[in-house]
């Protein structure tokens, strides 16, 4: 083979190798990036209205306990988490309804209403919350969380708006 011919043949091979290699790299590399970050692109937090009890069963001045379970799917794993709280009515007015989350604002134990103490007591570090969720005693940094959005259906069922983390 003559010199100039061989050179161009070499260059041809170099360029072709580069292009083919680049193509293979792109065709596999780009989907791979997508593959790796896919879970981060997922819409998190399913939203739903969760029924917690009949409005008529909630007596004025007596915290009404409720609980529900949500199943969260992470990849191939399903995790059931329990949630709970107290619905508190202070007057006849249906709008006057406070729905508290019973997760202690200190370290997330579950508080229980105590008739005797007239307070929610936390078993973990002896916190005390008033019927409205104000901190009366103990280490919690803030009042009990409140399910702000709730509604009463036509059938008289109280539902709270729940968004997964």
């Amino acid at each position: 083979m003559s010199g100039s011919n061989e050179l161009s043949r070499r260059d041809f091979i170099k360029v072709t190798t580069g292009i083919v290699g680049g193509l293979i790299g792109a065709v596999i590399g780009l989907p791979t990036v997508y593959y790796l970050i896919d879970p981060a692109l997922r819409e998190g937090g399913k939203e739903s209205w969760v029924p917690i009890g009949k409005f008529d069963d909630m007596q004025i001045g007596v915290p009404y306990p409720f609980s529900f379970t949500r199943v969260q799917v992470n990849g191939w794993e399903r995790t059931a988490s329990s949630f709970g709280g107290y619905a508190v009515r202070n007057s006849d007015d249906p709008a006057d309804l406070l729905v508290l989350n019973s997760t202690c604002t200190h370290l997330a134990c579950t508080v229980n209403w105590s008739e005797e103490a007239n307070a929610y007591l936390c078993p973990c570090h002896d916190a005390k919350f008033s019927i409205e969720g104000e901190v009366l005693d103990g280490p919690p940094p803030r009042p009990l969380d409140v399910y702000e959005e709730h509604r009463i259906t036509e059938d008289g069922i109280v539902e709270i708006f729940f968004k997964e983390a």
Partner: protein, 219 residues
């Protein structure tokens, strides 16, 4: 600035020497049959990369292996592609390595001074088969489970040491979580490490000896 960095590196590494020794080696007249080793190497690298990406989601536990593979196939973007390449690449690699071995045999390239290249090649072939055998169990489906029951059973028929071998392979007398975990470990750490080391020596010897001439009619 890039030029200075390049020069600094070049002074310490010697890119020209590297280029001359690795890529600009003298070769006898070669054919497409001489590309099979490089093709095997390419597949080894591909299997390594796609394998690493699969471990991002795959879970080697009897509770989760099957579901996590399912998730890769249906839940993750391009999971089917990554797994597909790894799945078909595995079969292709066994075939390619085997044809590579056949061509080396057929062209008598295993003779002096390349016997050691050949012996290491045998190790490479066995290790490649080992990758296929251990990888097959990982999806933990019916086919892979029973294939491994049978495969390990075969090892169990060896006289004297058979039963012991079977227990070592299975991590006990039965297939269990221990089997899956040790197959996984073998598949992603032990055998690839062996393969990489053997490939290193294999390539060193090939560069040292150069490619062999194909025998002619007179030989």
């Amino acid at each position: 600035m890039w030029k200075n960095i390049y020069l600094w590196l070049d002074e310490r590494i010697g890119f020209n020497d590297l280029y001359a020794n690795l890529l600009d080696r003298p070769e006898p007249k070669t054919t497409w049959w001489n590309t099979l080793g490089s093709a095997s190497l390419f597949l080894f690298v591909m299997q390594g990369l796609t394998g690493i990406f699969l471990t991002v989601y795959y879970t080697p536990s009897p509770d989760h292996a099957y579901d996590s593979i399912n998730y890769i196939m249906e839940g993750v973007a391009f999971g089917w592609l990554i797994r597909g390449i790894h799945h078909w690449g595995a079969t292709l690699m066994v075939i390619l390595v085997f044809i590579h071995m056949l061509r080396v045999f057929y062209t008598a390239s295993f003779k002096y001074p390349r016997e050691l290249t050949w012996l290491i090649g045998i190790g490479l072939f066995l290790a490649t088969l080992g990758m296929g055998f251990t990888g097959y169990l990982l999806p933990w489906n019916q086919k892979s489970y029973w294939a491994t029951v049978v495969g390990t059973q075969i090892a169990g028929t060896v006289p004297f040491i058979g039963e012991f071998t079977l227990k070592v392979l299975r991590g006990g007398p039965e297939l269990s979580a221990l089997t899956l975990q040790r197959f996984f470990s073998a598949h992603i750490w032990i055998i690839p490490a062996v393969l990489a080391a053997l490939i290193g020596v294999h390539l060193f010897l090939i560069i040292k000896h150069g490619e062999s001439h194909f025998p002619t009619k007179e030989d």
